[in-house]
Amino acid sequence: MDVKSMKNYLYWLYCQFELITCSYLMEPWEKLLFYTFNIAMLVTVLYAAYIFVPGHISMAFQFFFHLFGNQHENTVSIVK
C-alpha cells in the first residue's frame, strides 16, 4: 500500500500549499487564475533554465579552464 500512503502524503502536501498561499480561501475561478499564473511562471523558469543553463555552465567552465590551464594550451601550440 505504498502508493496509497504516497498519494495521501502528496495530498497533504498539496493541502499545506493551499493553506500557506491562501488558495484554500479562494473561489474556484480565483484558484484557476492563481494556479495558471504560478504554473506559467514555473514553466517559463524551467524552460529558460533548460535553454540557457547548459550554455552558461560550459562558458563558466571554459572561463575557469582558460584561467588556470592556459600554459597547457600554449605548449600544445608550440609543439605543433
Binding site: W12, C15, Q16, E18, L19, I20, T21, C22, S23, Y24, L25, M26, E27, E30, F34
Partner: protein, 518 residues
Amino acid sequence: INHIVHNGGLYKRPFNEAFEETPMLVAVLTYVGYGVLTLFGYLRDFMRQWKIEKCQNATEREEQKDFVPLYQDFENFYNRNLYMRIRDSWNRPICSVPGAKVDMMERVSHDYNWTFTYTGRVIKDIINMGSYNYLGFAQNAGTCQEAADKVLSQYGAGVCSTRQEMGNLDKHEELEKLVARFLGVESAMAYGMGFATNSMNIPALVGKGCLILSDELNHASLVLGARLSGATIRIFKHNNMQSLEKLLKDAIVHGQPRTRRPWKKILILVEGIYSMEGSIVRLPEVIALKKKYKSYLYLDEAHSIGALGPSGRGVVEYFGLSPEDVDVMMGTFTKSFGAAGGYIGGKKELIDYLRTSSHSAVYATSLSPPVVEQIITSMKCIMGEDGTTVGKARVQQLAENTRYFRRRLKEMGFIIYGNEDSPVVPLMLYMPAKIGAFGREMLKRNIGVVVVGFPATPIVESRARFCLSAAHTKEMLDTALKEINEVGDLLQLKYSRHRLVPLLDRPFDETTYEETED
C-alpha cells in the same frame, strides 16, 4: 526555562509567563499569504468597480460618489476581501445555554459567505471552548436558576428606571453589600453593563489635568473611558514594569506638558487577565510602584474575578496582597458569575462619590432583578455561604483544568501565549488561511472554538483562544485535546521549538525595550 522573579520578595509564588517568538519562516509565509490575498483583493475591487462582478458589500450611493469616500480605508478593504472569506467562523447562532456543551444551528452559504441559509439541522453537544464560563455558572437548571425564577415572579424582569430615580431595589443594596464583602473592600456599586462600567466611570474619576498610564493591550472599554475623560493618556509596554516606572518618573519630574505644573492625579489602568494574551498583570510590582510614586491604581478584573486565587477572589488574592492597596477594583459579572453587569469596589468615600456623579448611575437603567439574584446566588456559592462546598470545588476544578490543558498543549508542540495559571489559552495560528481552516475543522469534529484575527490582534499574530471552564470534565478536555492534536497535525500548527524565552529581570536602559534576548 520559566523565569522566577524574586523582586525583593514581592512575589510569594513563581510567576511563569512566556510569549514564544514567531519562527522566521512562519512570519515570512504569513506575509506571503497576506500578500496573495491583498493582490486578489485589489483584483476583486477592480472587478466590482468596473461592474464585471456583482457588488454585494455596502457602497456609497451614486449621488455621494464625489464626497469623502467612506469605504476606501484599509479596515473596509480587509473587511470586504479577507474577513468575508472566513466569516462563517464567527457569529454562529447557538440555540441552547452556553455551558460546557452547546447546540448550534447549522448554516451553509452558497455565495461564499455573503449570505447564509439555515439547513434546519441543529448540531448537538458541541464542546464549548469559547464561552467565558470560567466557573460553569452558565446553567439553565440548579440553585441559581431556581432563585432567579422566584425573583422573576416577585419583581418582574424590567426595572424601568435609573439608579438615582426609581430603579434602586433592595436587591441592589443586598448585592452591593455582598460584593463588598466578597472583595474585602469597604463598599461597592453595581452597574447594568460591564463595558459601560469602565467607559462611564473613568470620566467621573479623572479629568483634564490628570494623567492616565494605560497598558498597551487594554480593553476597548478602558480606552474609551480614558479618552472620554479628557485626561492625558500615556501608554506603557504590555506588563513591562520598567516602562511604567520610566513613565511615572517622567511624569513626576516634568509635570504637565506646557505649564510644568504637577499632575492633579496619576491613574494607572491595568487589567487582571488580558484576554487576548492570557497574561496576568504583575500586581505586586505595580502596587510597589504606585506606593513609591503616590499614584492611583484602577484594576479591571473582568476575566480574573472568580477565576484566579485559591477561593476565587481574583488576582489580588492570587498574589496574596491586600485589597486596600488597589484604589479602584472593577470587575464584571459576565464571565465567572454567569450574569451581566459590572461593579466597582473601593473606599466608602469613593463609592459614595460615584453614586452621585457617575454617568451610569444617573442615566443608565439599573440591573434587572433576576440577573441580580443570579449574581447573589453564584457569589454566595463561591464564598461557600450557601452551605455546600460546590463553589470551592469549582474553583479548584478550574485551576486543575487550566494546568492540565496548558501542559498538554505545550507538550504537543503548539505555541501558547500567557501565564501558566490563566484560564484563557491563546494558541497561535499566524496564517490567514489557517484561521478559517481551524475554525471549520474543529466544528466538523464537534468542538466550538473562537478564532481571532486582525482588528483584535496584530495582523500577523492571529490565534485561536480557548476559555477553560470548571464545567469541563477531564473527558471533555481529553476529547478536545485529541481533536486539537489531529487538527494541529493536519494544518501543521505545531510551530513551537520548545525554546521558551526566559523573562529577563535586568535593569531597563534606553536601548532595550524588549523582554526577549537573542
